[in-house]
Symmetry: C2
C-alpha cells in the first residue's frame, strides 16, 4: 500500500517531469488538492513540501506553488566504488599493491602537512585491475593521526578504499575531476602511450573536520566515463 502523500507527490512529479506542467505553471492550491484527493490539508502539505525540498516546485505564500525551472548545475554524480563497478560489469577485479610506506609529511607540501596533522602518513600506490588489464592507478595518503589502525592494515589483502570504508566512516568529501596526460611511469603501469589522456579523480575526505585521506585515481580516458543524471530516474 502506497501512502497517500507519496501518491500525490508521485503524480505531481509525473506531471512535471512529463512536461504536462511546464516550468512556471501554477499548481493547484493545497485546498484544491485536498478536495481533489479527499484528504486533509496536512497530507497535501507533506507532499508539496517534499516536492519543494526536492527543488521541483517553488512555493510562495499567497501566490501559490509553481513548477521550478531546472538549473543546469548541480546534478547528481555517481562516483562508484571501483571494485563494485568492475564486478558489476562482469569482469574479475584485482588489486595490486605496488608500494606502501609510512613516512612523515613532506614539510614543503602544505597539503600533506595539513593531512598528517600531528602524526605520520601512510603512502600507498596500487593498481586496480579489471579482467587482467590495468583499470586505474591509485595514489593514496592516509593520516595516521586520524586512523592509527591503518599502520597495521594489510592493504594487499583488502584495497585501501574498501578498507577505509569499513573502518573509518567519513562525514565530508570533495572530489575534483580533471584530465591530464600520462607521464612515462604512469603510462607504463597502465599500458598506455606516454602522453595518453587520463581522467583524474582526486578525492579528499574528512571525519568531523579532521582530514582522513586523499586519493588520486587515474583512469585511461577512453576506458571510463563518469555519468551524471538529472531526470525521471529515482
Amino acid at each position: 500500500m502506497i501512502p497517500l502523500h507519496q501518491r500525490i507527490r508521485d503524480e505531481i512529479e509525473g506531471l512535471i517531469r512529463s512536461g504536462a506542467w511546464a516550468p512556471g505553471h501554477r499548481a493547484p492550491s493545497e485546498t484544491e488538492l485536498m478536495a481533489q484527493y479527499g484528504c486533509s490539508r496536512m497530507t497535501v502539505n507533506k507532499a508539496m513540501s517534499a516536492l519543494a525540498e526536492a527543488g521541483l516546485i517553488v512555493r510562495r505564500r499567497r501566490a501559490g506553488s509553481f513548477v521550478a525551472r531546472p538549473r543546469v548545475h548541480s546534478t547528481v554524480l555517481d562516483i562508484p566504488d571501483i571494485q563494485a563497478e568492475i564486478t558489476a560489469r562482469g569482469e574479475t577485479y584485482g588489486f595490486v599493491l605496488l608500494a606502501a610506506e609510512r613516512r612523515p609529511a613532506d614539510p614543503d607540501d602544505g597539503d600533506e602537512v595539513e593531512l598528517a596533522g600531528e602524526g605520520d602518513l601512510v603512502a600507498l600506490r596500487g593498481l586496480h585491475v579489471a579482467g587482467g588489464r590495468p583499470f586505474a592507478l591509485e595514489d593514496r595518503l592516509i593520516s595516521l593521526a586520524a586512523v592509527p589502525e591503518a599502520a597495521a592494515a594489510d592493504f594487499a589483502a583488502e584495497p585501501p578504499g574498501a578498507w577505509l570504508l569499513h573502518h573509518v566512516p567519513w562525514t565530508e568529501a570533495e572530489s575534483r575531476i580533471s584530465a591530464i596526460g600520462a607521464e612515462p611511469a604512469v603510462a607504463e603501469l597502465l599500458a598506455l602511450d606516454v602522453g595518453a589522456a587520463l581522467l583524474a579523480v582526486e578525492r579528499r575526505t574528512w571525519r568531523a573536520g579532521e582530514p582522513v585521506t586523499r586519493v588520486r585515481q587515474l583512469f585511461p580516458g577512453e576506458a571510463y566515463d563518469l555519468i551524471a543524471r538529472f531526470g525521471p530516474a529515482r
Copy 2:
C-alpha cells in the same frame, strides 16, 4: 524565527556531522525527543523524516533511528554555465561562432537520427574565450523538431547554451565526463599540442522525453576542474 522542526533537524545533523554520533549510533526515539524539546510527536517526526530522506539516518520500526553510514557514490556535481564561470573568475568572456549550418541527421548516426526526430538539426561549433585565450570548444546539435525557433536564432550574438536556457526549459539531462587526446583540428583551435589531454563533457537534454540538444565541450585538461562536494555545506 527558525521553526522548531528545523531546529531539531539542525541540531541532530550537527551531532552527526561533527562525529559526536558515529555511524550506527542510535538516536533517541520520537517519544524521548518529544519530551526533550517539549513539543508534539508530529514535529519531531517531521525533523526525523527529513533527516531520513536526506540519507543521514536510517529508521526502522520498533528498532529506532540510527545514524547512517555515508555512501561513497552520489555526490553533487556543479556543472556551471561556462559564461557565468568565466565572469565569476573576473575574466572577460567571449564566444566565437566558428560554424553553423542546418542539415538533416546523418542516417548512419543513430544518435543524430534520434535527436532530429522528424525534422532537421542545427549544427554549431563555437569557441568559448576567457580573457582572450581559448577556454573551451563546443560542438552542439539542436533538434529543430523540438525547437523550431532555433532556425532563426543568432548564435553569434548569444551563445547557444544561454539561448537554449532562455528559450527551452528542459526536464531531463545526462552528462558524461571523460578524458580524450586533442586531435589536430581541435588542438589548433585551443592552441594546444596535438594529443594534449582534454576534459570532455557531453551533455544531452530532453524536454518531456523529446530530445532537445546534445553538446560536447572540450576543456584543456590543466585549465579546468570539475568539483563535487559532499558535506556540511547546505
